[in-house]
């Protein structure tokens, strides 16, 4: 090093070396300043290539050998690809992104993607100063931009769009993720059945609600099952959607379910839909709740003895079930301060029948939602009252806040009925979700009723199925909330005159599982059989029945 002394400037000279034969390959790890990464604070780090993009060419296709495979299939596929000029890019390990894990499993995770075009026109060198004062320059082999990976759950694009569309209606945004998790659990491996409390607890992020009501009490289930059957006829889909709405508070699963059902069902029940609703104040209604509970139980817990109907329903209603679960949970929460898993189970059990269960589930959920909010209704007879209120809340179709007060009351009534049917033991905690004020008001309405319906032996989980289901209603709808049966159509037509369009709306394809053509055909047949009377209202042909 030669030091030159200058008058106003002083400079030192250093020799620059470019070492030739290093086996080390230098790369740049770039972090964004917003991430506030401090490398010196890392205690340990692990980094490896992210091989998730590697496709085992040829192995991608499922079977290899034996059943299902054809002779020479691989060659034929390859020849076919060549013929069409499909070029599959080679998998280069050096171009794959890095996965960097800092500070062990609980620490941060980063993903480093290679930046292209770095070494095209200019080369980067790293100058390090050696102990002997000279500089050593190493060429940079690659530049990787590292971004932190989110550990929390995120919504997918479709879900995000959905939620965006509902942002004006949703009060409790926390419930969104909660519901999603619930939904995932629902669909997830069934061996997750310990969903019992643990599941619930884990899932419930907000409010730290403990005990998700998943615990399932065999006895209760059995008891409940005896009751259910009746009813659920309830208001078919209407009540259900409403209940979903009620599930706003994000009360753990219950809420989520409701919300889930909300999004799932997507039934926009217009306000006018519920005008003609008649509430059946029958003691049997509890069964619908139970059914709802059962449904939930079905989906949630395998351990719960499932009726055949339940089993058949389970597929279709995963959403419903979720709702049910939520309802159950909500109820439990309400009643036991979130430690009552039983209710959900009970509900499930009781709803041996699937058909109404959906309805009841929703009702129950709504009920729970309501209850969640209020927490006031003590465990009265299974919190019917709360059930009612929550039910109102949980109506899926209606935006949580929008439910008209009239509907609320009606729904509350319906939910009460439901509750009556529900076997859920554990009582009142049902509607955790009901956070709406409306619910509260409705709950008052419901409260009066709650003591009344107590048809079922076991106390119904308030939130249970809030949908009021006519006790006699459909006992065995195989699936979906709304079964396109003659009985259902008759019920509708008795209640109020409806146009064919209205009827079709009631039996939405999503609910019944039939295609729109099939629905039309079946509906036409049913109408032919019923031969309802016609009258013209507002230039539209309405059907109605008088009994």
């Amino acid at each position: 090093m030669a030091s030159l002394g200058g008058s106003s400037s002083s400079s030192t000279e250093y020799i620059v070396r470019v070492p030739k034969n290093t086996s080390k390959k230098y790369s740049i790890m770039a972090f964004n300043s917003g991430d506030k990464v401090n490398c010196s604070s890392w205690t340990q780090a692990r980094m490896e290539r992210d091989m998730s993009n590697r496709r085992m060419y040829g192995v991608e296709e499922t079977e290899e050998g034996a059943a299902g495979s054809e002779f020479g299939k691989k060659q034929r596929e390859e020849a076919r690809r060549k013929k069409f000029g499909i070029v599959t890019r080679e998998f280069k390990v050096e171009d794959q992104p890095w996965i960097l894990k800092v500070n062990g499993k609980a620490g941060k995770r980063f993903k480093g993607t290679k930046k292209g075009g770095v070494t095209e026109n200019a080369s980067y060198y790293i100058f390090t100063q050696c102990p002997d004062g000279a500089f050593e320059a190493f060429p940079v082999n690659g530049w990787y931009n590292f971004v932190p990976q989110a550990k929390h759950r995120t919504l997918t694009a479709e879900e995000a769009e959905e939620e965006w569309g509902r942002r004006n209606k949703v009060v409790n945004h926390f419930s969104i993720m909660l519901q999603r998790r619930l939904r995932e659990q629902e669909r997830g491996p069934d061996d997750d059945d310990e969903e019992g409390e643990k599941g619930g607890k884990k899932k419930k992020k907000k409010g730290g609600r403990g005990g998700d009501l998943r615990i399932h009490d065999l006895e209760d289930d059995l008891e409940l099952s005896s009751d259910e059957s009746d009813s659920s006829g309830g208001e078919d889909g209407d009540s259900k959607p409403k209940k979903k709405e009620g599930d706003v508070k994000g009360k753990g699963k219950k809420k989520k379910k409701k919300r889930g059902s909300d999004s799932e069902a997507n039934e926009d029940s217009d306000d006018g839909d519920f005008e003609g609703l008649e509430v059946d104040y029958m003691s049997d209604e509890s069964s619908s709740e139970e059914e709802a509970g059962e449904e939930k139980a079905k989906s949630n817990k395998e351990a719960v003895p499932k009726g055949i109907d339940e089993a058949s329903e389970s597929e279709e209603e995963s959403e419903e079930e979720k709702q049910n679960e939520e309802e159950g949970k909500e109820e439990e929460e309400e009643e036991e301060g979130k430690k009552t898993p039983v209710q959900t189970k009970k509900k499930r059990d009781s709803s041996g029948e699937s058909d109404t269960s959906e309805d009841s589930d929703i009702d129950g959920e709504a009920a729970s939602a309501l209850f969640m909010k209020k927490r006031t209704p003590p465990k009265r007879g299974g919190g019917r009252g709360s059930g009612g209120s929550s039910r109102t809340g949980s109506r899926p179709g209606t935006p949580s806040i929008d439910s008209a007060s009239t509907s609320n009351t009606l729904r509350a009534a319906a939910s009460k009925l439901e509750q009556g049917k529900r076997h859920v033991v554990g009582g009142s905690s049902e509607s955790p979700a009901a956070k709406r004020l409306k619910m509260e008001s409705s709950s008052t309405a419901v409260t009066t009723q709650s003591p009344a319906p107590s048809g079922k032996s076991t106390p119904q989980p308030p939130s249970g199925k809030s949908t009021p289901q006519p006790p006699s209603g459909k006992s065995t709808p195989s699936s979906s909330d709304v079964q396109l049966t003659e009985e259902a159509v008759r019920r509708y037509l008795i209640r109020k005159p409806m146009t064919t369009k209205d009827l079709l709306k009631k039996f939405q394809t999503k609910r019944t599982g039939l295609s729109s053509e099939q629905t039309v055909n079946v509906l036409a047949q049913i109408l032919k059989r019923l031969n309802p009377e016609r009258k013209n209202v507002n230039d539209k042909m309405h059907f109605y029945l008088t009994e």
Partner: protein, 257 residues
């Protein structure tokens, strides 16, 4: 290896500071030609009235630029390169290395953090201009070139009585001869073992495998297999259900004739 993936964090802990310098392509090419210990030049860092001045001077022996085809062009690389210093703000840049030794122990280690960024610029000089001119000339040459030929090309596609390939094929066919009908039991054995490997077979492939005449083979197949127009365009043969056993170990059912 448990070691694999473990990052050596000594550099980060010591907060070793390095410089990231952007160097023009021709300069890095010259550096690659360095001999011996790899000395390429000198770096002078000076403080001129409070401002840091950094300049890199290329060694004399490295200034010969190779033109096309590694022959020396008449251009010399400029020697003086002032560095433009920049800050690293907005990004945290770390440097990590991957070492791959013969024992295939890939070690990743963090060498340090970038504290200063710089750009190496050539001082504007006659040499540099000439160098640039040379580069531009090279780049502007078109990749494809049209060239006129003096004579017509006559070395391809001469008419031939029979192509050599064809002759070979005919000879092969003659040698193979017509396929003989083997014993039915043997054929069945062959078929079953073939179907053990794959479920669906094209008739041509089966003929290939068993080396039997088509009609004979078809008769046998009609006994033990079914022909399905599977929905996929090939029409394939598969064993009858009672002969199949495609779970784990395969069982063969043989007919005793």
């Amino acid at each position: 290896m448990s070691e694999k993936g473990e990052v050596d964090l000594t550099g980060a802990k010591q907060n070793t500071g390095v410089w990231l310098v952007k160097v023009p392509k021709y300069l890095s090419q010259q550096w690659a030609k360095a001999s011996g210990r790899g000395e390429v030049g000198k770096l002078r860092i000076g403080k001129n009235q409070g401002k840091a001045e950094v300049e890199f001077t290329l060694n004399e022996d490295l200034t010969m630029i190779d033109g096309l085809g590694d022959k020396p062009s008449g251009v010399q690389a400029p020697r003086d390169h002032p560095f433009t210093m920049q800050t690293v703000g907005g990004q945290t840049l770390a440097v990590f290395t991957e070492t791959q030794s013969e024992s295939s122990k890939d070690r990743i280690s963090l060498e340090g953090l970038v504290v200063q960024r710089a750009e190496c610029r050539p001082a504007a000089s006659e040499n540099y201009m000439k160098l640039k001119r040379l580069q531009i000339e090279e780049l502007s040459k078109p990749v494809r070139l049209s060239q006129q030929l003096e004579k017509a090309v006559t070395t391809n596609y001469k008419p031939v009585a029979n192509h050599s390939y064809n002759l070979e094929y005919d000879r092969k066919k003659k040698d193979e001869g017509k396929r003989a009908r083997a014993d039915k039991q043997q054929v069945l054995d062959m078929l079953f073992s073939a179907f053990e490997k794959h479920q669906y077979y094209n008739i041509k492939d089966l003929v290939d495998v068993t080396k039997q005449p088509v009609s004979y083979l078809k008769e046998i197949l009609r006994d033990i297999g079914i022909y399905n127009v599977k929905g996929t365009h090939k029409n394939t043969w598969e064993l009858k259900p009672e002969y199949r056993h495609y779970q784990g170990g395969e069982e063969e059912k043989e007919t005793d004739d």
